[in-house]
C-alpha cells in the first residue's frame, strides 16, 4: 500500500492503527498526533452534513446525529472536493440505518433538506414578469399548446409523512404537537430570488407540475393530472417567480 493509501484508509477507519513511517519530533506516540488528522476529517465532514441537515439534526439530537453521520462518513466518504454536494445519498443511508427506525419520517426530512441545498445553489434564471404571463394566459386559444419553463431550482418531493409540516415546525418552536405525522404531503421547493421556499401542494398539483417539468404542454399536463385547483397552482408558481419561459407554436414572448 502506498503512503497515502495507508494514511487515507486509517483516516476513515478509527479501528485501523496509525499508519507506519510517521513520527513525532519529541518522541511522542505518533498515534496521538495522527488523531488530529482523523478528527479533522471526521468532524469537518460531520459539520458539513450538520450545516446541510439542520432539521434532521434537531429531530434526533446532536449526539445521535454525530454518531449517525460518523458512520455515514466512514461508509460513504466524499467523492468530490465540492463539499456543498456532500450527502446526496444521506437519505438512503438513513433509510437503512436501523437505530433511526423509530423516526420513520427522518429520511424524507433529509430528502427535503437536500432539495433545499440544491435549490439554494441551483442555476440562476430570470423569471417572466407577472404582466407578461397574464397577457399570454388571457388568450384561451393559445393555452393548449403552451409549454412552461420552470426555474432550475424548482423540485418536488412526495412523502408518506407530513414532511413539510415537520420541517416548517422546526423553523419555529420545533414542536410536532398537532401535526398528523402520518398524513402524507407533497413538497414544492424553489428559490425565489435569494430565498429558498417550501410549500405543501396537492397530489394533483404535484403531478401537474411534474408534467410541466417533463415538457408537456399546459393542456396535456392538466389532462394527465388528477383533479386540483389549477388557478391556485398557477398563482403559486407565478407569485413565487417560478415561471421562466412560455413557449407557444407561434408566439414566443
Amino acid at each position: 500500500m502506498s503512503t497515502q493509501a495507508a494514511f487515507s484508509a486509517a483516516l476513515l477507519d478509527p479501528q485501523r492503527p496509525c499508519p507506519e513511517g510517521v513520527f513525532s519530533a519529541n518522541g511522542a506516540d505518533p498515534a496521538s498526533r495522527f488523531a488530529v488528522y482523523r478528527n479533522n476529517v471526521q468532524s469537518s465532514l460531520i459539520n458539513a452534513l450538520a450545516d446541510s441537515y439542520p432539521v434532521v439534526t434537531q429531530l434526533v439530537g446532536d449526539e445521535f446525529f454525530r454518531a449517525m453521520t460518523g458512520l455515514y462518513v466512514q461508509s460513504c466518504p466524499p467523492q468530490s472536493p465540492l463539499i456543498n454536494d456532500y450527502g446526496k445519498d444521506f437519505a438512503e443511508f438513513i433509510d437503512n440505518f436501523e437505530p433511526a427506525a423509530s423516526v420513520p419520517y427522518l429520511a424524507d426530512v433529509a430528502r427535503l433538506e437536500r432539495l433545499r441545498v440544491q435549490a439554494y445553489h441551483a442555476a440562476d434564471a430570470q423569471p417572466l414578469g407577472h404582466e407578461q404571463i397574464a397577457a399570454v394566459l388571457s388568450d384561451p386559444q393559445a393555452l393548449s399548446e403552451l409549454t412552461l419553463g420552470l426555474h432550475p431550482s424548482l423540485n418536488l418531493l412526495t412523502s408518506a409523512f407530513a414532511v413539510v409540516a415537520i420541517w416548517a415546525a422546526h423553523q419555529q418552536d420545533a414542536t410536532l404537537a398537532g401535526i398528523d405525522l402520518g398524513h402524507g404531503q407533497n413538497a414544492l421547493v424553489l428559490r425565489n430570488e435569494l430565498e429558498v421556499e417550501v410549500f405543501a401542494i396537492d397530489h394533483g398539483a404535484r403531478i401537474f407540475i411534474q408534467n410541466l417539468r417533463l415538457g408537456q404542454p399546459l393542456s396535456q399536463a392538466l389532462e394527465n393530472a388528477p383533479a386540483f385547483d389549477l388557478s391556485q397552482t398557477l398563482a403559486l408558481l407565478i407569485s413565487h417567480n417560478a415561471i421562466t419561459h412560455l413557449h407557444h407554436n407561434q408566439v414566443s414572448p
Partner: protein, 284 residues
Amino acid sequence: MNHSFSGLPPRSGLGLKTEHFREVLGAQPDIGFFEVHAENYMVAGGPFHHFLGLIRKQYPLSLHGVGLSIGAEGPLDGQHLQRLAALIERYQPHSFSEHLAWSSHGPVFLNDLLPLAYDAPTLNRVCEHIDQVQNTLKRPMLLENPATYLAFQNSTIDEADFIGEVIHRTGCGLLLDVNNVYVSCTNHQKDPLAYIDALPLHAVGEIHLAGFAEDTDSLGDRLLIDDHGAPVDNAVWALYSQVLERVGPIATLIERDNRLPAFSVLHAEARHADELLHRAGSRP
C-alpha cells in the same frame, strides 16, 4: 519586494463569510481585500455568486483553493482544474493560491490538508502538478506552507528547502502562513524564525494569519492545531512583525473559519495588521 506573484494591495484582508455578505455590502468597510475558498463558489448560481459578484466590484479578491490536492500521489483532477479556470475567468481574482498538501486519494476526498513526505519523488510530483496548474490557469499561483502534526521517516529534505526548490523550479510564489509556521515549528520543536529565514522570502505574495487550538500529545507536550477558530495569537503577531521586517508590507489575510465572531471583531484584527503593515512600509 517582488509583487509579481500577486496583484493584491499591501493591506490586510478578511475571509469573506456568507454570514457577513449583507453587512459588507451595506457598511462597505475599509478592508484591503477579501479572500474566498474557491470550492464554495463552484456552484451553478444562487446567493453565493450574487453576493460575491457585488463584493468583487468593490474589493480586490484573493481566490484560495482547498481541494486541488497538489501533493496527491495520483494525477490532478482535470475537471476540478477546469472549474478553477472558469471561476478565475469569471471573477478575475488578484491572486490564486493553494496548499502544499494532499486531500484526495483515488476517488475519495478527505476534506483536510494532509502532510507529505519530503523526498525527491514528492518534489518532482509537486512541481509537475504546479506546472500543470500554472499552464492551465495561465498565471502564477501562490503555494502555502502547511501546518503539520507528524513527520515522515522517509523525508530527506527540510520543509523550507523543499518549498524553496518548488518555487525555484516552477516559478510559483509563496503564501507565507505565519500561523502555520508557528504551529508546525512548535509541534516539531523547531525555531520558527530560522524556518522563515530558510524560505525563499523574495517570492512571498501574500501572508496568512490565524488562530490555533491547543492540545497535548502522549507526552503531555504542547500540540497546536491550526483550526482557524480563535483570534491571532500574540506569539504569531510577534512573528508576523519579524516577517514584515524582512519582506516589507505584503497583503495579509486574517483567516477565521470556525467559531465566527461578529464582523467588527475581525475588522479590528485587520486594522491591527494594517497598522503593522503601515509601520513596515514607512520604515527607512
